[in-house]
Structure formats: C-alpha cells, structure tokens
C-alpha cells in the first residue's frame, strides 16, 4: 500500500499528491511516469512523475480530474492509501546542455513539464518556458517553473491571464524574433502538441512531445498504448512516452484515445459524477 503524505488543491479540478513509494523515488527521472490503482476494482492509470524526493522516498503527481478514476483519486486525503503504485516507467527525457531550449506546457501537461524544465536548467540551458491553458484557473506551477526559467511566457485562450491566444503563437513570435532555439519540448493536449509540431517542422526545429495513449499494464505487454511514429508501431509505455513530434501520427493517437468514451461516461455516471 502506498500512503498519500500530502495533498494540494491546485485548482477546482487539478490536484497534487505526494505519495510514499521509496523504490520508485530512488529511480525516478524527469520524463517518466507511474501507474497506479486505487483499489481492488480500480483501473490502472498512468500519471507523470511531476517531482520526486529520494530522501523522503516520495513521488509527486499532479492530475486533472477528467473521469471516474481521477475524480475518485481527487476525493482521497492525506493518510489514505493506494493499492498499487508501479514505476518509474518509460524512458527518461534526454537532458543535456543544448543551449537555448523552449519548454511548452499546456493545461495538465504543465505538471510533467516541470521536472524537465528544472533538469534542463540544471544542465546549463537557457530555458524559455511557455505555459498555456484555457483560462487562468487551469494554469499551475507558474512560480515553480519560473524559478528554473530564464524567460516565462503565459497565455490563455480567453485572455484571463497573460496574452490571449495559444502557446504556438508565442513560439512563432520567439522564432520571428530570431531566438536561436535548439530544441523544443511540448507537453499538453494532443491537439496542442500537433499544432506545435506542425509549426516547428517548417523550421526543422527538433520537438519532443510526451504522448498519453490509453494504457493498461505499462510494461510493454498489452500493446494498447501503441502509437505510430514515422510509420512504425511503438509502445508509448516502453519506447516513450517522449517521441520526436515531427514523426508522430497525432490523428491516430486522438482516434485511439476516444476508444472507450462511451464506457468512461457510463463509469462516471455510476460513480455519480458528470464527465
């Protein structure tokens, strides 16, 4: 059993939890994720490692309540225990001193971006971070990310905070301003990653995206998480979750992520929440 040691409400639907999992904490690296299961009847869901503390033996996850499992998780409190918590899974981000890097986080993708920003900064990069969300309420970790960023840009779809518009507009501006960008990290909704990748492709600017297909085991056994990368089938849980954004078939990912929409709704209704 894995105890919840801390809980923070980041916004109405975004929560942070620090969970005791010493073995996972010992190995965790930026870019990796865990799979948890709340109870005996629970689903296995993947969440990115937002932070880790090797001394305390804890892993921090930040999640958006989108369906039955994440909503149920959101109701749990300090002292409660999760039945399963396995990781770290996936391949860690390739952190090196690239020069100037742009880190783009959209919505709940801001959480997994945070440790990457921090490690890139520690590796000596000039880090430009762009955070975007639908509105101010859905923004998070601005202070934490600012601490490790040389520049921070914020934008919202409705203009409630920062500039009004999309993260891709800000990136376009940076490119137009002649910034010598070496590499871009983009993590967020599939559509955001697709738009960013489409933009950077024109400039042959390497772009890493972190994919979030539906998973079951997370160990490479079921193939449910397969994504098409440059025409080849890859398993996001073992080959990813990070891939070269210019090679990913985002349309197929969007399609495969809708596989159980109807069942997810049913599950939510039964649990007494609206999806």
């Amino acid at each position: 059993m894995y105890e919840i040691l801390e809980k923070k409400v980041m916004s109405e639907i975004v929560k942070l939890m620090e969970i005791k999992a010493p073995l996972v904490a010992k190995k965790a690296k930026a870019g990796q994720f865990i799979i948890l299961r709340i109870d005996e009847r629970g689903e296995r869901i993947p969440l990115t490692i937002a932070d880790y503390d090797r001394k305390k033996g804890t892993i921090t996850v930040i999640f958006m309540e989108v369906g039955k499992t994440t909503k149920q998780l959101g109701t749990m409190n300090v002292g409660d225990k999760l039945l399963n918590f396995a990781g770290p899974l996936g391949v860690a981000s390739e952190i090196e001193n690239y020069g100037t890097v742009v880190c783009i986080g959209g919505g709940v993708g801001i959480a997994p971006l945070y440790p990457i920003v921090r490690e890139l900064k520690k590796a000596g990069n000039y880090v430009i971070s762009i955070l975007g969300a639908r509105n101010e309420k859905l923004l998070m970790l601005e202070k934490e990310i600012e601490e490790y960023s040389d520049e921070l840009h914020i934008c919202t779809d409705d203009g409630s905070k920062g500039t009004k518009g999309f993260v891709s507009n800000v990136l376009q501006q940076l490119i137009d301003d002649g910034k010598k960008i070496k590499i871009v990290w983009a993590i967020g909704p599939v559509i955001m990653m697709k738009v960013v990748a489409d933009l950077t492709r024109k400039y042959n600017l390497k772009t890493i995206v972190s994919l979030n297909p539906i998973m079951v085991d997370g160990t490479g056994m079921c193939g449910g998480c397969r994504v098409s990368v440059s025409g080849e089938t890859k398993f996001a849980c073992v080959d990813g979750p990070e891939f070269d954004g210019h090679l990913v078939d985002f349309n197929n990912l969007m399609l495969r992520n809708r596989r159980f929409t109807h069942e997810e709704e049913e599950s939510c209704n039964l649990y007494g929440v609206k999806l």
Partner: protein, 461 residues
C-alpha cells in the same frame, strides 16, 4: 476383464448455457468416476506415460492410489513433483504429452491423466491443503523475477530446500499468463490464487508493482540476493503488420484478455476497466490464445465470433479440447484465410477486414506446409473487433538491462538445460528462455533451475 476403450465422460456446462457466463466449463470428475477412470490404467512396468511429462510425475503411482481410493497419497505423489497440479490438470496439452504416450492408445483413448490430476488437486484444495513442513533455513537468499508458472515453481522448490525466496512481480497480481491471459472459464482465478497461497505458505514472499529493470535492476538485486531466477515470460505481442492495424477496434490478444481477465472488464462497470467488442469479432491465429479470445468474445455478447487462420485445421496449434469447445460454442472457423488489410470508416472505427484465400504448399522450417495466397481470391468480411493472436515474443526488458547477459536470436535469454545463463548467479527459464511455450514446460524449467540454483548455492558454501 476387458478395459473400457474410452475415457469416462467429464460432465460439462452445456454450450448454450456456458457462452452466457464465465464459469468453468468442465465440472471435473466425482469420486466414483475418478476411481473408475483410474482403474483403466494398466500400471505398465515401463511407465511410457511418464516420459511424456515434463515434470516427471509418477503417473502410474498416483493413479494407482486413486484406484484404491487413497486420494491423500495420490496428492502427495503429485505434489512432490508439481506444485501447481490444479493448473496443469486443466491446461496441460496432455494429448501430446503424458496421454500421448499411454499404452491404452493402442486400443482406444488413453487414461484421462489430466482429468485425474485435476481431480486430486481439487480434492486436496477443497479439503484444505496441509500446511507444508517448515524446513531449516540455509541463510541463502534468491530473487525470483516474474510470478508466472516458471517463477512460482522455482520459488516453491527453492523454499522447500530452505532458501529464502522473494518473488518480484511487475503487475499487481501473481500468476503471469495464468492470471492475465487464460480466461476464468478455463482456469478459475480462485484456483490460481490458492496455488499461489500454497507457495506463500512455503515461506515465499511475493512483492508486486516491481518492474525489474526499471524499479530495481537485476544487478542491484544481486547485491542483496545470492542468486536470481528470471521468469519474465514471452509477453510481447506480435502484430500482423498489415494496414489499418492501429484502427479503433483492433486489439492485441494480450490487451483484450488482460482487460477481461486481470482487470475483470467482463464485470464492468462494477469493475472500472472497460472493454468493447461490438457484434462481430474476428480473432486471427489458431493457438490456445486465439481460442481463448474467440470464446471470450461470445461470452461478452458477440453474435458472431470468427477464427481466421492461414493454414488448415490439422496445423492449428491449440489443444484439441480448446478447439472442440470453441466449435461446440459456435465459433466460426475460417481456415486457409489470411488478412491483408483492416478497413475503417471515416472516423477511424474498424469496419471490415480484407482477406485472401490460401492453399498449402511445401513444408517450411517448422515442418508445417507453407500457406500460399491464391491470386484474386480476396474477400471482405464485416467485423467490429479484431483480436490479433498470432504469438508473443520474449519480454525485452531484462535482456536489454542486464549487462553481458547472453541473448539468443529471438531476444530470448540463452540458458543450458538447467537454466544456467552465461552469468554464474543468474538463472532463467520458461517462456523468456524458450519463447512462448506451455505452462508445464515453464514449470519444468523452474524446477530444474531450482535444482541448479540449490547446487550453485551449496558450492558457494
């Protein structure tokens, strides 16, 4: 008295009924029938049946006990060689093993060795298994990676020899394929759990959620343990590699079966994990895995469940019993048929599969006749779900993460007969060493490796 030519029937749920539930299909023998079946055995002096058993069970020995009504003694004989008899008695491909060598084949059907083994295992479990004797600790520790039949058998045998054993399992449940692959109606999960409990009673500790190679490496385990046994299986699904395989509606057999069995999607929404199959399901392949997929689909409410296979019925690798059960339940076999591409609608939802007819040519490397496409014989079949069950490869994680470990050409870990790898304190067995095989071969490998590990530990003093 002349020997009865056929096995005594084992009662079963009728097909029409059983396709509506996930309960076990055969009920097993009752005492009287078991004794009658046991009396068919000729007690051959040369014991040909034993040669066919990978774990060397004294078959005439235990069957003789059943014939005399001494079920406890029969259990003891079986358990001395096989820690998981309730499992092997259900899923062993006995027709090609012990029963395939039985003298009675000369006049008719062999002795129902599998059925009798199952009877004894069930008898013992229902009665309450005797807690095993505690053995003196040797002070040595062994890490077993993977809790499939290979890992569990190895762990049990090492514990019986007094070694301290910890099993590390990546998933949240034990049993490997026994838990996530083979369906409830063929191998009830309560039985797997009972077998695992027995092994725990021997003193084996099982840790879940540990993905060795990720959470902890084999090298790190060996800092704490004197030796390691790798039994991580062949869990990597193979694909058809045809267009449309990533459409919504195409699953690997592993994903489908894991959702249904381990995550209990057949009880959704009571359990949280969903599965969705529609009305018409096509399973590709004709092994045990494929039969499990096709039969599970019927139980989930499919109106039509096809097995699509590129060779003919004599080449189908599944156990005879599975094929028979599938036929009785109404699975439609489309043989000598090979898929060419999956076709989706404008939303990317699977709608059809295009197939081509095949004929058999000369034998290939596997000794089976090679299927050859017949030109212009394409047809499209309407389907809602495709289940790809054409085989699994060894799990690559451990082979990739242990330095200098010798790997074979299929990504398997290379071992000798007794599970020794090229690294003295690392042993391996089961599907990770042989490629996808059978439960009993995995158990046999676990057993031989336990013996070799014991020898190794003693040699180290």
């Amino acid at each position: 008295m002349a020997v009865r030519k056929t096995k005594y029937e084992m009662p079963e749920q009728p097909p029409k009924e059983r396709i509506k539930n996930f309960k076990e299909v055969p009920y097993g023998y009752d005492k009287e029938t078991a004794i009658k079946e046991a009396k068919r055995c000729l007690q051959c002096k040369n014991k040909p049946c034993m040669e066919g058993c990978p774990v060397e069970i004294d078959i005439p020995g235990f069957i003789g006990c059943i014939a005399e009504g001494d079920f406890d003694k029969a259990a003891e004989i079986i358990k001395s060689k096989n820690s998981l008899p309730a499992v092997s008695g259900r899923v062993c491909p006995y027709e090609g093993q012990c029963e395939g060598k039985c003298t009675l084949l000369k006049i008719g059907e062999p002795v129902g060795i599998g059925r009798l083994e199952r009877f004894i295992a069930d008898y013992e479990r229902e009665k309450g298994v005797k807690p095993p004797k505690k053995v003196k600790s040797t002070g040595k520790k062994v890490a077993v990676v993977g809790s499939g039949p290979a890992g569990l058998t190895c762990a049990g045998d090492l514990a019986k020899r007094g070694h301290g054993v910890t099993v590390f399992e990546a998933l949240h449940a034990p049993g490997g394929v026994l838990m996530y692959g083979i369906p409830e109606f063929r191998l009830p999960k309560a039985i797997v759990n009972a077998e695992v409990d027995y092994i725990k009673k021997l003193g084996v500790d099982v840790k879940y959620d540990v993905i060795v190679g990720k959470t902890i490496t084999v090298e790190e385990l060996l800092e704490e343990y004197d030796a390691a046994f790798i039994g991580t299986g062949a869990g990597l699904p193979r694909w058809l590699r045809i267009p449309g395989e990533n459409l919504d509606g195409v699953y690997s057999a592993n994903e489908f079966l894991t959702r249904v069995n381990m995550m209990k999607a057949y009880r959704f929404p009571e359990y949280d994990t969903p599965v969705k199959i529609g009305k018409i399901v096509a399973t590709f392949g004709a092994g045990n895995v494929a039969m499990d997929c096709a039969r599970t689909s019927l139980r989930l409410g499919a109106e039509k469940s096809y097995i699509i296979y590129r060779r003919s019925d004599v080449e189908m690798p599944a156990r005879d019993e599975e094929i028979e059960h599938a036929r009785e339940e109404g699975v439609i076999f489309k043989l000598l048929t090979n898929p060419v591409k999956f076709i989706g609608d404008d939303k990317g939802l699977l709608k059809e599969v295009e197939c081509i007819k095949m004929k058999l040519g000369e034998p290939d490397d596997s000794g089976r006749r090679r299927p050859i496409p017949i030109p212009d014989s394409e047809e499209t079949i309407k389907i809602d779900t495709a289940l790809v069950a054409i085989g699994q490869s060894p799990n690559p994680l451990i082979p990739q993460t242990v330095k200098n470990l010798k790997i074979g050409k299929w990504g398997n870990i290379e071992t000798d007969e007794d599970g020794r790898t090229n690294i003295p304190n690392i042993f391996a067995g089961g599907d990770i060493a042989t490629g996808a095989a059978t439960v009993i071969l995995a158990m046999g490998a676990g057993k031989r490796a336990a013996r070799a590990i014991d020898k190794y530990l003693k040699s180290k003093k």
